[in-house]
């Protein structure tokens, strides 16, 4: 039963979309924030892609953006050497954290009390959001620009990926590197799945899965093209990846087989993430758009509604093409 995948295209950004993050599931649904080189990160409704608001204030390209679990706070990392914390409900800028170089990555702890930042000055910083004027805790060690920094293992440890081709696992309290992983190529993306303690890493054409505690390799999968980002489904049945060839690939996690690939974007894909309920995944591209793709193509969810050939009228939905066998002449 082959249904055609009709992605929801979210336009609005005027430059490449470089990062995106989903919130957790809140009583109002879930939300998504996109970081863009146009300096204006946007907040969208997660299941429909509807624009909710744009955070105005940054004076340079925004390289990283994140939401806290409850979608009440947002944080962004930009080329204007600052990281900003925002009230995601009103859109107001709450805090500006000055850095000494381009900030690339921001991440909240589960309780939203601490913010981790990392960037081109090679230092990881932990800000206590209840004491914003206090100096951040600093963790140095990387020998080149930090690309991504994430809290892990119950916010007791920190994972950081840098251009020095290493990924380091740090203990938050001792500030020491507990484990280091070295690669031959620069790591292009990193995702941490707390439930299952899995780390998803991409480099070159490879998507690799590691145990987040021991940094032991679980498995690797090679894609047909250079991959910039990958995301594992919450139930760990599949993962999606996108990169240089503008296509989105979907793989079976257990068998490592490529299941589907989707064309749609007009530029390399920089970031992909599964939604917290796993029903859709979002991709951000050089073409300045975000696209939302269904995990189970043909399912009625969000703005998607399955329409069988007999019913030719449909409102409020994307019409999905149904198998030719059922079409009557």
């Amino acid at each position: 039963m082959a249904m055609r995948q009709t992605p929801l295209t979210c336009s609005g950004h005027t430059r490449p979309v470089v990062d995106l993050a989903f919130s957790g599931i809140t009583p109002y649904g879930y939300f998504l924030i996109s970081a863009c080189k146009d300096g204006k990160p946007m907040l969208r409704q997660g299941d429909t892609g509807d624009w909710i608001g744009t955070f105005l204030g940054h004076k340079g390209a925004v390289w990283g953006a994140t939401l806290n679990k409850e979608a009440t706070k947002a944080a962004t990392a930009a080329a204007d050497f600052t990281a900003k914390v925002w009230d995601a409900v009103t859109g107001d800028e709450v805090l500006t954290l000055a850095h000494k170089h381009i900030v690339k990555s921001v991440n909240f702890t589960q309780d939203s009390n601490f913010l981790l930042t990392g960037g081109n000055d090679k230092v990881l910083r932990i800000y206590d959001l209840s004491k914003p004027e206090a100096d951040p805790q600093e963790i140095a060690g990387h020998t080149s620009a930090i690309k991504k920094a994430l809290w892990c293992n119950n916010d007791q440890q920190i994972l950081s990926a840098a251009d020095d081709k290493t990924i380091r696992l740090w203990d938050k309290n001792t500030q020491e590197a507990v484990h280091t992983l070295s690669f031959d190529a620069s790591v292009t993306s990193m995702e941490y799945i707390p439930d299952g303690e899995i780390l998803v890493i991409t480099y070159g054409r490879t998507i690799a899965f590691y145990n987040a505690h021991s940094l032991d390799l679980i498995k690797t999968v090679d894609a047909p093209a250079s991959i910039h980002s990958a995301s594992l489904h919450p139930e760990k049945d599949f993962f999606v990846a996108g990169g240089d060839d503008f296509k989105l690939y979907k793989y079976d996690y257990t068998t490592k087989e490529e299941m589907e690939s989707y064309k749609g974007h007009f530029g390399p894909i920089h970031t992909v993430r599964f939604s917290p309920d796993g029903e859709l995944y979002a991709s951000g591209s050089e073409d300045g758009t975000l696209r939302l793709w269904q995990t189970a193509v043909g399912k009625t969810y969000g703005l998607w509604k399955c329409v069988l050939p007999e019913e030719l009228s449909s409102e409020n939905s994307e019409v999905l093409y149904c198998p030719p066998a059922e079409i009557k002449a």
Binding site: Q45, T48, G49, D50, W51, L303, S313, E315, N316
Partner: protein, 68 residues
């Protein structure tokens, strides 16, 4: 007096922003659905779909008039 003109410029900006803030807004998905529904419902009145009767078409090919 430049301070006076910036004050008036600021006042105009505030008025403009007040107007913009009071504009009614709906979600893009809702707007898209409404647009689609409007177009389908009014398809019979759409000249581009239904065509214009030759009599009322101001751009029809001019037929030469013969003078008696």
């Amino acid at each position: 007096m430049s301070s006076n003109s910036t004050l008036t410029a600021m006042r105009r900006t505030v008025e403009q922003l007040k107007l913009e803030a009071s504009v009614e807004r709906i979600k893009v998905s809702q707007a898209a659905a409404d647009l689609q529904q409007f177009c389908l419902q009014n398809a019979s009145k759409d000249s581009l779909l239904v065509g214009v009767p030759a009599a009322s078409n101001p751009f029809r090919e001019p037929r030469s008039c013969t003078l008696l």
